[in-house]
Amino acid sequence: MAREPVIIVGASHAGFQLAASLRQQGYDGAIAMLSDEPLLPYQRPPLSKDYLSGKIGLDLLLMRPEAFYEDQRIDYLTGARAVSIDRAGRTVRLATGERLNYGHLVLATGARNRVPPLPGIELDGVCYLRSHAETGDLRDRLAVAQNIVVIGAGFIGLEFAAVARAKDKPVRIVELTERAMGRVLSVTGSHFFAEAHRAAGVEFHFSESVARIGGNNGRVDHVALGSGARLPADLVLISIGVVPNSELAGDAGLAVANGIVVDEELSTADPAISAIGDCAVFPNRHMNGTPTRLEAVQNAADHARCVANRLMDEAHPYTALPWFWSEQGPIRLQIAGLTTGHDQTVARGNVESGEFSVFCYRGGELVGIESVNRPADHMQARRLLTSGRQVSPAEAADPSFDLRAAAAARRA
């Protein structure tokens, strides 16, 4: 007898990988994947990089060609928005009124752009960068933009700034906190990136709020700062982070706390419902079990594999090491582990030369390593942090210390 039908709400990195992994492992039940976008599942990381710059087209963005879904018997429903879950009846209702039965439901609903309650936010020329459609619009506008203001100096804002500067567009970035990518990077890393972007011509306004977005005839024409300064703008990118899409779960009575709350096997309190990827808050082994929500391709894909294993009756707790990357102009940033709350850093390599790693410690424990143009360090970092073995601050700082040998030896 075939296994029970699986419905996956969301078709980005987590949803896609779950469907693919289930079939790869021989899951013989029906699989339906719901997307509220009109496209086949596509990769998001290139949106803010090669797709935005025009280097690649939609064909290279797709996860798989259309035939894949037919071959793998994955029922892929585009433009399908799930609006409610009937847990007792095990059905999902779509916006169209249609009801789908599930044996297991996986919420891979992702996150959406955080929209600040600013006067002028509705003006034409205010853009976002998360979906394919938004990026297409942004790409068209970027081509003709004269003055660009980016609100928020996170990964997305800075990746966009790098692409815009490569097209020689004036870019001004307004950031509420005092530094770039402050939520995820050490002070050392943060300062390095701010300097690199400045050298490329970006103008930063740190520790600055936005008072309003000003317009003329419905089109944006400036951004007014809290300090009173006025930045000219015909294109404004809002990149101040995301909000998890947890309403579907919350409305169904499932626990929600900055995301859909799941246990260490990524199951909600309802054993027939799991949540994976950007929308899921899970006890993170790399943060002493603290409930954590991560926005990362690695997390999405590894969550999916974990749930696929459980549905194949090989349940195990989620333990994968988090890792992240960003590409900003010629600079490659790779982060292994979670550096949240670190209280000590040691730089390895040469910060001035732009090839270095920052080892981050929390209470004396190595918790994460940021590598800038040092991919070898990053790969050793993944091994080290996965094994849980330590490199002392003194060892990290010592250029003659053999990180590779340490990572290899300690993996055994």
């Binding site: 990381p45 290139p46 798989r64 060609p65 035939a67 594999r305 990357w325 991919p375 790969m379 590779r404």
Partner: protein
């Protein structure tokens, strides 16, 4: 164009004609060849598009960059002297006839 043959871990052979400029990873993904994950989408960030180039064809595969060399340190299946990341193997006439074997696992 380059004709490239993929041999899966269980021995299944697939041959593809790959247009110049397309990578061995992209061609595999778009032609439904199992065994290449390519989690980062071809940015040389994840080491999940690992392949073993037939030993006597290393020159055909072209030169390896420093980033790729570094990322190969983290493959899920053991790195061998003939290991490459297929997202860095861009098809050209010089690559015609290349044979790559896929590892047991990418993750």
């Amino acid at each position: 164009m380059a004709r490239v043959t993929y041999i899966s871990h269980d021995g299944k052979e697939t041959t593809l004609d790959i247009a110049d400029g397309t990578t061995v990873m992209q061609a595999a993904v778009f032609n439904g060849i199992d065994g290449i994950t390519a989690e980062c989408g071809g940015s040389c960030m994840c080491a999940t598009c690992h392949v073993y180039v037939q030993e006597d064809q290393m020159a055909k595969a072209g030169r390896m960059g420093a980033d790729e060399d570094a990322m190969l340190e983290g493959t899920a299946s053991p790195r061998q002297p003939n290991s490459r990341l297929s997202c860095q193997l861009t098809a050209s006439p010089a690559m015609d006839g290349l044979i790559v074997r896929l590892p047991e696992t990418q993750t």
